[in-house]
Structures are given as structure tokens and as C-alpha cells.
Symmetry: C2
Subunit: 217 residues, 2 copies
């Protein structure tokens, strides 16, 4: 069967491609796997039918025959393991690409999530003005390390991989913050990711949900 993913019926980013279905769409486009999309409202996400697919009531999910998966990292890894194009063939290079996937989600993204949370859930609190510079500095710590490792390479470990896909996917969330521009090699790295035809196709598909054009699924 054609895999089915879920995405927000109304993405809070209004089609900027920052929701986590974008990472899965991008991976599917990179490997040339067609997919269908089921849109889910914020209300329906928390109902039992969707929670049976995703215990935390979020998107994306992935359904393929008898398999149901949640977590964008797990879905992208599943896709990468079953198709050529997102993981190197050589065992050690493959393990390193997967390490960058985990680094994206457990080392780079947490302080970026803190910044988003500070705006979304604590934007009206009296401390937020004073606290934001601390959170931004914690993001800079990660970006400085990442920038040093990347250097002037195109991708983090020779060829483009699912590791780059996840790191770029996470760094995209910093665009509005201006932080990425402090690290020109990271800004160029993200732009390289965005310039990939597969990214472009995925971006257009998620934007179409917001603009009302039927999804390409």
C-alpha cells in the first residue's frame, strides 16, 4: 500500500514547513516514495482514534500495511533503511549518519524547543524578556559546535544523508530568530538543504495544505 502520513489540518506555522511532517515528506521525496496525507485537527489529535496511532497525540504518524509508526526520527529512519538515498552503504558511515539524526533530535533541538516554548507558552510572563537571552545563548553553544564541525564542507559526513536532513530540519526552526545568520556556514548549509529538489517538492506539498490547494499525496 501507499504509505499514509498525518499532518496538521491547520499548521500553526501557516505553511512555513516547520511542523514535523515536513521531515517525513522530505525523506519520502528524497527516495521517490509516493505517499498519501491525512489531515488531523488539533481536536482530533487528542482523541482515542489518533492516540491509537500516536500515544502523545501529535503528528506525524506513518501507516504502511500493518505497520504504524510515530516520531519523525523513527519514520525517517524506517524510510531510509528501506530505500536507497538517505544512508550510506558502508556500515560505519551508516552508523555515523544515524548518530547525526539522534544529535539533531536530542542535542540540537532541545534548546530550540525551549525558545519556541518560551514564546508560545510563556510569551505573556514577566520573566520572558530577561530569560530569552539565556535560552538564545544555549542555542548558540550548540550552533558554535556544529559550525566548527561542519567547517567548509557541504554536508556533515561526506555525502548528504538522513543525518543532514534531520539537522537541517531542526535548524530551519531558527530562521525567524536570526541566530542562524550568526553562523554563515550553517546558514549556507541550511540553504543547501532547502535547495534540494526533494525539499522543494515536500515544501510545496505542505504549503498546499495551508493555501487550500489539494495536497499532491
Amino acid at each position: 500500500m501507499t504509505p499514509i502520513i498525518t499532518a496538521f489540518e491547520r499548521s500553526p506555522d501557516r505553511g512555513k514547513g516547520l511542523a514535523r511532517d515536513m521531515r517525513v515528506r522530505w525523506a519520502l521525496e528524497e527516495v521517490g516514495q509516493a505517499y498519501a496525507v491525512r489531515l488531523v485537527s488539533f481536536h482530533a489529535m487528542k482523541e482515542p482514534a489518533h492516540r491509537a496511532l500516536h500515544p502523545f497525540g501529535q503528528i506525524p504518524t506513518y501507516e504502511e500495511d500493518d505497520l504504524v509508526l510515530f516520531e519523525s526520527g523513527a519514520i525517517v529512519l524506517h524510510i531510509a533503511e528501506r530505500h536507497a538515498g538517505l544512508l550510506p552503504d558502508e556500515a560505519n558511515a551508516r552508523a555515523r549518519a544515524i548518530a547525526w539524526m539522534f544529535a539533531a533530535l536530542n542535542t540540537v533541538e532541545p534548546p530550540i524547543l525551549e525558545l519556541a516554548t518560551a514564546g508560545l507558552l510563556e510569551g505573556d510572563k514577566p520573566w520572558t524578556g530577561q530569560r530569552l537571552p539565556l535560552v538564545r545563548d544555549r542555542i548558540r553553544n550548540r550552533l558554535g559546535d556544529l559550525s566548527a564541525r561542519l567547517g567548509d564542507a557541504d554536508w556533515l559526513d561526506a555525502e548528504f544523508s538522513a543525518g543532514d536532513l534531520m539537522i537541517v530540519g531542526v535548524l530551519l526552526r531558527l530562521k525567524a530568530s536570526g541566530l542562524l545568520d550568526e553562523y554563515p556556514n550553517l546558514a549556507a548549509y541550511v540553504a543547501r538543504g532547502e535547495a534540494r529538489p526533494a525539499f522543494q517538492r515536500a515544501f510545496e506539498a505542505q504549503l498546499a495544505v495551508f493555501t487550500g490547494t489539494p495536497p499532491t499525496g
Copy 2:
């Protein structure tokens, strides 16, 4: 060669087993793989020699023949893929176990990291007293969902897997907060993880670093 992992020379948790080397030690013990440990000081972690192994200057790392890995999630997955005992054989069950690994690191751990950060890096700030209840509620959101999914099962998806190992490893960080006790089935789940002989061996080995007993490596 015997794999070599790195761990803190002086763990900030004073041997409570909350540093990320514990997850890797536990996985190695579950599969019966001997390992050596190289201890790293906070100073040395940020030096070029260690950063060549870990771009973010953290622990743990994993060295085996020509392979160098960082990120506890990637290391545990690498171990689980090469030995029996941490991932089911059946393809769909294997993918779901990996999904729980990602859920541990990208969905459950981020608000727990926020709580730790609030204490460690913002403990002296005037807003922390008012802000902590908000952070604790964000953790409760995750714990409530996890508790509902677990129900009265022993493990998250039939047999114990690397997914349970990572979820338990993350939930252990909540012990001092008292939050775990609000969800009796999660507290019992964590206790089941801690009762595993492999966990016990791993815990003793990391504690020995702090108490001065030579590591068993």
C-alpha cells in the same frame, strides 16, 4: 577490539546513574558485550582530542575498531542492531521499538531537560520559583500520555526492548522531582527496569567511578 566508551571523570550526579553513559552501559550489559571505559574531565571534554570524537564535547562516545560514534541513542541502537536481546526480530515490532527510542529522546526528555536546566542554570534567577510549576506541568503532559499507553503492561510493546531502556533511562532523571510518583504504573515500570540484572551491573560500574573503586571495564 573491546569497545571503549567515555564517561565523566566526576559525574555531576555523584553516581546516581543519570549521566548518559548509563544508558550505553546498560545496553552493553543487556547483550553481554564487555567494554572498557575512558574517563574524561570537564576540561578535557571541551578539548580538540575529545571533540574529534564528540562534536559537542560531551559524553558518552563509543569506539570500536574504525568506528567512532557519539549520541547515546545512536550508540544504543548500534549495539542493539549487532547483538540479540534489545530489538525484536519481527520487522514491524523492531521499527516500533526504535520509535520508542526516539520518543524517549525527542518527546519525553526535552521537558525533563528543561526542568534540569531551570535548576542548574537558572536556579538563582528571580523567576524560577514561579516558572517551575509550568515546566512541571509540561512534564506531566508527557507522563500522563505515557502512563495511559503503558496501562498495566510490563513494557511498552510486549517484550523489553531498547525502547524501554531509553524511556526508563530518561524517566530516571525525574526521581528527585517526585513527579514519577504521581503515576504509579510509571514508577513501577521504572522499578522493573532498575531491577534487571543488566541494569544493576551497569549501575554498579558507573557508581564505582564515583566511589573510587576501579571500574569493571
